[in-house]
Assembly symmetry: C2
Homo-oligomer: 526 residues x 2
């Protein structure tokens, strides 16, 4: 990818900045060749990658280097786009929201700084991947379980900070962050929580500050660069039991949610419960042309045929219970009784006991896997996907409404419907996977128009997205419209106070610093 | 209490401000007589109340009035000290940190705006007391359980925002806040979380914002005035079972914690577990002179006698399990097995089933009670108390160290030792109750010197307080000393950006706006 400069900088100024950065991190870690830029582009970009072009990347190796890089960025006015490992596929990967921002790649900072097996937590740096942490815990025989996303090739920290979800009782990953070290936009270093006291023993145990609590202000955030954080880990249970069933019809999601949510709120089910539609299973069995070789969405008769041939329901329900065997048994009875009130379909039971091998295809086991990446091959060509991800209350009324609304629109655009609902408490994360071939310009245009419309109709119905791709960060921020977008406005007051030069991740989630606010795509869509 | 003006204001300017406030809230709700000032003083003040004198109080009745009051306060430079109901005994009650600030009393805003029985949450205004909410839930037969503090006469919101603790599975009250409406320091209105979208159905369900999450920035905070908030409520369980025992010796707290913490982290015990020392029981049986009529601390032989006569241990352990009867039975077996590994003392069992009356003396039942207020009479005279409240990791090593350290110091000062440890997760809140007669000037001096020293030795050992009385807000803030008190410094950058006139609660938790920063007691103690 050709050189793209940060806004308002000349080639000469930019080169001077790169030289200054190289003095800090070493020349090898200033990455600004054409090839480097391609490496940091959005490889799933809906449309040409040069819509979100980095000017290059800098990869510091220590907290002190991050601090110095941030100070230099202030001096030269070179905006930085922070990524942990840059694997955020479907949301922009490593690419920056602001064209020409330099990617601040924290992947080299990949130490597991600490694991406490007694109190169940770890302290990780941004570059630690789920696989790194898993191996670390295995090596030390820590007897702690991770919460992993479906595709676990990314950063533990990046996932938690971006509100990614897992499927164990610790599935609300961001809620298990506790105590951070953060490089602030002026290059100063801050610690949150009890760790704001040097040497405090409860730095990663107590989830509040003395005074206003900061941790969550650094999630989905451009207010600082998190260089390490505490993350609570669940003790390995003695046993776990998977109760599963397939339910045949799309409308069954209604009673499924109304059965599961009370059990989740009562604490009978502790995990975040994942309910994917059939295509979630079928993408792992092959590519689209193995099932349907014509353009446009699969017709309903063919979907029914595939379900029948593969003994699949429209939705798959899997509930995993964790703990002492007798407790799990008693809970399983409660779950089974609840399902019996709505269906005669029997639940399959599958026990796991400590020491036994686990099914890595099932993220509720807390073992990282990249199998879900296979979805990337579904469409064929330079296959990619976007996730349209609204939050809905975990009741049939809202879930059915959301399912019908997005399904109709997705099918109006002639795309296959592929959704999941994950019950994380009193709400569901609804992910609608939109898959496309990046080389099919018409298809990409269609997907983008669909995405615009999904945001609009969903907002009109009273729901918002929890996360989105670079291309829609501003439009989604605009849907948070109470009192003239007060939340974004006040966040920007803070942004300007902490980051007067607008150095850190301008535009992240629609939060713009004064210095680059004219780049916000407000009042217009893609 | 005689009139005390806000800093830098003349009588005439102050009177003009009061008139302007009266136009908004009505003359009846501008409270600035000598008697009014006494009403809003710290009735438990360690020393004369006029150390923390309000200039008066204003009690708005609606969000619009709060907004207008804040705008007028900006115009006249009258600092406001926000209280929900002002019942924060032991921490300053309604009194302001900055002498002459006007108390912004939100007690009139006392509507339960909404209760959702299906998804288990309520939306409350600041003036809603625990008793109000309890009666509201009872009246509507909501089948939802509250998390209540030991003494429940205060505000539900005030308690949660100040990181107060309860003793049910929802005992970490601040973690169950979800979605707020906040009047900002410029008088603008903001909503957090999904509620930042007008009409969003998940406003009180999803615990994050799109972008940086604000909720916890408004806890223990002077960055805004919270006018309503969502709070998750637990579904009434089918049954609950109290397992209890007395343990004889002070050092037993070590194995007790090491037994309980793993069960808490594994999720076998869901509640926040309260372990009080013997005096917590004895204060409810009478006043001090009924047990010991000499000055100075009770000698150990007398303590042993009291324990024997009343069949008490040094510590009382009460574990309550909640839920389906079979699940509770299975969990109880796990708990009993764990205790058997350390003691032969049998656990008493006491079942509760839905529909049965509950013991209101036990806050783990979630029923509000003010019985704990009786502690206020213990010492005699104008009896009062302070809580010294550090957070320690929930392991024997840290808990024993903390117990020995504070016990020795408290006894060196010739005071009775009265402590509790509440396991809220991976940490304990340790509360050391210091009781004194406000009219005993020598005793008050002693308690204050003790408090100073407790802060110092505890900080030196690597622990910090989670909450403190007005008099020590600055010294405790100073103990959070990482990188030249970075946390407080950056919080103050935000404070100044949002609140350039320093109107809202200057000095709260040691966070000072530029306008009044010279009032901070930095580098010196009481």
């Amino acid at each position: 990818m050709k050189r793209v400069l940060p806004p308002n900088l000349t080639d000469r100024e930019f080169d001077l900045a790169l030289k200054a950065f190289a003095k800090v991190v070493g020349e090898d870690w200033v990455l600004a060749s054409d090839q480097d830029r391609s490496t940091y582009a959005d490889i799933y970009a809906p449309g040409p990658e040069d819509q979100w072009p980095p000017s290059g990347a800098i990869a510091p190796g220590s907290v002190a280097e991050v601090q110095e890089v941030v100070r230099i960025a202030n001096r030269f006015k070179t905006p930085l786009w922070t990524v942990s490992r840059g694997k955020n596929l479907g949301y922009g990967a490593a690419a920056p929201r602001l064209p020409g921002a330099l990617v601040l790649d924290l992947g080299r900072m990949n130490k597991v700084q600490h694991v406490d097996t007694e109190l169940g937590y770890c302290v990780v740096e941004p570059g630690v991947s789920f696989f790194d942490l898993y191996e670390h815990l295995e090596r030390m025989n820590a007897n702690l379980m991770m919460s992993v996303p479906g595709n676990a090739w990314g950063s533990v920290m990046g996932n938690a900070l971006d509100h990614g979800v897992g499927y164990t009782p610790y599935g609300l990953n961001a809620r298990h962050i506790c105590g951070m070290e953060v490089v602030m936009p002026d290059g100063g270093l801050m610690r949150t929580g009890m760790g704001a006291m040097e040497g405090n023993h409860s730095a990663h145990l107590f989830p509040f500050n003395y005074g206003p609590s900061w941790d969550q202000m650094f999630s989905q955030s451009n207010l600082g660069v998190v260089t390490s954080m505490g993350l609570w880990l669940m003790p390995q249970p003695e046993t776990s039991l998977l109760l599963s069933m397939s339910v045949p019809n799309e409308e069954d999601i209604g009673w499924v949610i109304d059965t599961l949510t009370p059990l989740k709120i009562q604490g009978v089910i502790e995990q975040s419960i994942f309910v994917p539609s059939w295509l979630g299973k079928v993408v792992l069995m092959g590519t689209r042309k193995d099932f349907w070789d014509k353009p446009g969405r699969m017709p309903d008769w063919r979907v029914q045929e595939i379900l029948k041939q593969n003994k699949l329901g429209f939705w798959t329900v899997g509930v995993r219970l964790y703990g002492d065997e007798a407790v799990v048994r008693a809970k399983a009875d409660v779950v089974k009784r609840a399902f019996k009130r709505s269906t005669d379909i029997p639940m399959e039971e599958s026990w796991w006991r400590q020491g036994e091998p686990v099914d890595v295809m099932d993220p509720s086991n807390g073992v990282p896997s990249a199998v879900a990446l296979q979805m990337g091959d579904w469409v064929g060509g330079r296959s990619a996907h976007l996730g349209f991800s609204p939050v809905v209350p975990a009741t049939s009324k809202h879930v059915l409404g959301q399912m019908r609304r997005s399904k109709k629109l997705i099918e109006d655009y002639d795309l296959d419907f592929y959704a999941s609902f994950t019950i994380g408490g009193r709400f569901c994360n609804n992910i609608n996977m939109l898959m496309y071939d990046r080389d099919d310009a018409d298809g990409v245009r269609k997907v983008k128009a669909l995405f615009d419309e999904l945001i609009d109709v969903t907002r009109k119905a009273g729901y918002g997205e929890y996360r989105t791709h670079l291309n829609w960060m501003d439009p989604v921020a605009e849907t948070f419209d109470f009192n003239d977008n007060a939340m974004t406005r006040y966040t920007e007051v803070i942004k300007d106070a902490l980051d007067p030069n607008g150095i850190l991740s301008p535009g992240k989630m629609g939060v713009w610093p004064a210095a680059y606010r004219e780049h916000a795509q407000r009042g217009k869509h893609s």
